[in-house]
């Protein structure tokens, strides 16, 4: 190994990134170490060879790290930007640590002032904007608190300035030189701080909590979070409180005072009336905590261990309180002081009593004047008026009267038993309520009784009469007779109609052949039902006579055969059609036939009589004569006994027949007259006969000729030819059956037959 100045030179030459190293001394030092290790090297001066790399290696081995650090440091120091960044990283901590040093403030103040000044100069609005949210609430809060404090002190002063205690406190204020308000506060504000919570603002978590010995509370961790929640709620809900938060709550005698710090909120729960200055106490405790545990508060993450000292500070707050001062035992003075208020109180009470009494009497007067109310008992209990009695349910409501009398209804206890009042007023009221008079009727009290007037329908009138009779004894009389019956005209009309109807029905009943089974009035119509013989009178025809509108009548009649003699008579007259000479008449229970009639008719009449039903009158035919039995019968027999004789083969009567013809003509005329008077029709048939000699046809014509001849002869003698009929019988109807001449002579004749018939 050799040394040389070159090597030293090389060592002494600063290498890149290698500054401020005393290479010469270093080289000397290294040389010396080497010589000590190898004594033989001592003789060689500057034995280190220039460019010996081992030297450089050695240097790196020994100082490499330092060289690197130093080079990095110098890099930073020399680069202003990097230096600024490095300083910036530590500046907050440095300033924070230096905060306790008062000099920092002094040093920084001028620079801050300048900075602020230039900022304001360049743009004053900026600072105003920055400060605005702080300044306004701060001013508001400050003014509010000042006013609060003033009010409180004013209240207290007024409250105590005129009392004995007030006088005493004035004396104390004068003696101690403090203000009267201070003294008042000192003595009057009785309060106790029961809880103090220190709550982390950001998370709402409880940092520390201290409670007074006797104070009760729920889980403080929950309470603190809920407090923060409520504060958030208020902030969110009412925009005005945005920067202020909720700093006071009051619930009965509990107050919640909240002081906000940058990182933590201090909430005190106070019972009673705390003085305003307690705010200051709490505020200063909070700022002390912030000053001391700034960092811990800022980085609080829910771990409250390590805040024991904070709890100690909070404990001081909890001890705050003001006990009520003991009573001054100056009895006489107290009595004196109380006397005036007592007197005033008594006076007020007296005035109130008098007022009450006056209202009460007024009320009673009104109540007594009310009809239907009877007061039986009056009294007073527990400051309330008692009243008991009887009350007609229709009388005035005592409670309404109470209102009219301006009494407080809560001060009156009333119990009324219902009864029926009999005084005219109450009875009138009840009548009005029960009878409900129609608009045309008025009820009024007249001379101790009640009189109704006007006009009302009959139904109401009847009700009113019934009520009038049913009124209890002792009640005033009720006279409804002054009320006209509004239905009278109607009723009369109805009565007349009814009468007409009854008359009609009676008349109908009297009619033979009509049986009434139903006759009634329904829904304004008349219903009529029954049996009617078809021969009886028509009931509807009778309506007109009775003056009843047929449209109102519904009639239903079943046909039947009447057994009334009249009817039987009528029916017989209709069926038998008696000939003119016959009359039928009712005689008692019989129908008697008189006159004369032909036998066939008589036969028919007899049959009809037998056919009459049971219960019907009997038909008496005993008085009828048979027409053939009478005069006309005799005449007929006389006429029929005649015959006119004829000679053989002669068409004219034989000699000596004229007297017979004369007699016959007289008899025939008599027959005509008689039959006319008897309403009979008679026919006389002339039958010509011949004997049995000669031919049949000539005999027949001869016989007819003989009949014709006789008719002509009779006509000549005044007989009506219409009466006479002719026929020829030839030899067929001989009078004598043998064929002797005498018989033949007797057979040559004209015979007469009389027929009698009733006139139709």
């Amino acid at each position: 190994m050799s040394t040389s100045p070159d090597i030293l030179e090389g060592l002494l030459r600063p290498s890149a990134g290698d500054t401020g190293i005393d290479r010469k001394t270093l080289a000397g030092l290294l040389l010396e170490i080497a010589q000590n290790l190898q004594p033989e090297l001592r003789g060689q001066q500057n034995g280190v060879r220039p460019g010996d790399v081992r030297l450089e290696q050695l240097r790196r081995l020994l100082l490499g790290r330092e060289i690197e650090v130093l080079s990095r440091l110098s890099d930073v120091m020399e680069d202003p930007e990097r230096l600024a960044a490095a300083v910036g990283r530590v500046l907050p901590t440095a300033i924070a640590q230096a905060t306790s040093d008062a000099r920092l403030g002094h040093v920084l103040a001028p620079a801050m002032e300048k900075a602020t000044e230039s900022s304001i100069r360049s743009d004053p609005h900026k600072l105003v904007d920055i400060l605005y949210p702080l300044i306004v609430p701060a001013i508001r809060k400050s003014i509010g608190e000042t006013i609060d404090a003033t009010f409180q002190s004013l209240n207290q002063s007024l409250k105590y300035s005129l009392t004995w205690r007030g006088l005493k406190w004035r004396w104390e204020a004068w003696r101690t030189g403090s203000s009267f308000a201070e003294v008042v506060l000192k003595h009057t504000l009785v309060y106790q701080v029961e809880h103090v919570f220190l709550i982390h603002r950001h998370t709402g978590l409880l940092i520390a909590h201290v409670a007074a010995e006797n104070a009760a509370s729920q889980d403080p961790q929950l309470v603190s979070s809920m407090l923060v929640a409520i504060q958030d709620f208020v902030k969110d809900s009412f925009s005005g409180a945005e920067h202020q938060g909720l700093d006071a709550l009051r619930l009965g005698e509990l107050r919640l005072w909240s002081e906000q710090g940058p990182f933590a909120t201090l909430v005190a729960v106070i019972r009673g009336d705390p003085p305003e200055e307690l705010h200051d106490t709490l505020r200063s405790a909070l700022s002390r905590i912030h000053a001391e545990r700034h960092q811990a508060l800022e980085s609080f993450d829910g771990d409250s261990s390590g805040f024991a000292d904070v709890e100690a500070q909070l404990s001081e707050c909890v001890t705050l309180g003001q006990k009520a001062p003991p009573r001054v035992s100056l009895r006489w003075l107290v009595t004196l002081i109380w006397l005036l208020p007592l007197l005033l109180f008594a006076g007020a009470l007296g005035a109130r009593w008098w007022q009450d009494q006056r209202l009460w009497e007024g009320y009673l007067e009104r109540l007594q004047a009310e009809p239907g109310i009877v007061i039986t008992e009056l009294g007073k209990r527990n400051g309330k008026f008692l009243i008991a009695g009887l009350r007609d349910p229709l009388a005035a409501d005592p409670r309404l009267v109470l209102r009219q009398a301006e009494m407080d209804p809560n001060r009156v206890v009333m119990s009324f038993v219902p009864y029926q009042a009999l005084d005219p007023q109450s009875v009138l009221r009840r009548l009005n309520a029960t009878l409900d008079p129609p608009p045309g009727v008025t009820l009024a009290i007249e001379g101790g009784g009640i009189v109704a007037q006007g006009s009302a329908p009959r139904s109401w009138l009847e009700r009113a009469r019934a009520v009038a009779q049913a009124l209890p004894a002792g009640a005033p009389a009720f006279d409804p007779s002054g009320v006209r019956n509004a239905d009278e005209a109607d009723e009369q009309r109805r009565d007349a109609d009814e009468r007409r109807w009854q008359d009609y029905v009676a008349r109908l009943r009297a009619q033979p052949g009509i049986v009434i089974t139903q006759a009634e009035e329904r829904d304004g119509k008349y219903l009529l039902a029954g049996l009617r013989d078809p021969l009886a009178v028509d009931p509807l025809a009778l309506l007109h006579e009775a003056g009843i509108d047929p449209a109102l009548v519904v009639a239903r009649f079943e046909p039947y055969q009447g057994l009334d003699p009249e009817f039987v008579l009528k029916r017989l007259l209709a069926t038998l059609a008696p000939p003119p000479g016959v009359t039928l008449a009712v005689e008692g229970a019989r129908i008697v036939v008189q006159g004369s009639a032909s036998s066939p008719w008589l036969e028919r009449a007899r049959v009809a009589g037998r056919m009459l039903p049971a219960g019907a009158p009997a038909l008496d035919l005993s008085a009828v004569r048979d027409i053939n039995d009478g005069e006309i019968g005799k005449l007929r027999d006389v006429i029929q006994a005649h015959s006119i004789r004829f000679d053989n083969n002669a068409a004219l009567p034989a000699k000596g027949q004229d007297p017979i013809l004369d007699q016959l003509a007289g008899e025939l005329n008599e027959l005509t007259t008689l039959s006319g008077s008897l309403h009979m029709i008679t026919r006389v048939t002339l039958t010509g006969h011949s004997d049995d000699k000669g031919q049949g046809t000539s005999n027949l014509s001869l016989s007819l000729a003989r009949a014709e001849a006789v008719r002509a002869l009779l006509k000549k003698r005044g007989v009506d030819p219409d009466l006479l009929q002719v026929r020829g019988a030839g030899p067929l109807e001989p009078a004598e059956a043998d064929s002797s001449e005498a018989a033949r002579s007797a057979n040559r004749r004209v015979s007469f037959t009389v027929g009698i018939e009733e006139q139709q």
Binding site: L222, V223, A229, I230, D232, G302
Partner: protein
Amino acid sequence: MNAPLQKKICMLGGFSVGKTSLVKRYVQSVFSETYLTTVGVKIDKKTVELDGRVVNLILWDLAGEDDIASLRMSYLRGSAGYVLVADGTRPTTLEVALSLRQRVEADYGPLPFALLLNKSDLKEQWAIPDAELERLRQDGWWVRSSSARTGEGVEDAFKDLAVRVTA
């Protein structure tokens, strides 16, 4: 002595997903449920023990709203984590939970949270497909079904969340 650790946890979920009844049996509660309707939040406490250390989860039970906009986001300030609750029988409540999470994330950044699908006892009415949950789990969600009736999933959720917020 090791003082108990406190963590603020918010309970979020749509209307009537059963949030309140889910925790009712497992928490310490002093406030009445009327706070939910008046102030919009009710505070309960759930104590969890982790490796011998007591952690008090201060639960801010926020009133359930299907209208996300009306949620008072300020209540979430300072939360260490949150529990999302949805009703497993009503898929819309899961949507509400998802949008609640987006809203919270937007305002407060990523925070540990757990999703509970409640009413797991109503199996036959279950309306959320497993695939959907699997997808959420793959996205790193902590999802459990839960039941207020059986208590299933509740303790787990709080314990797991306690671990994650104290880590």
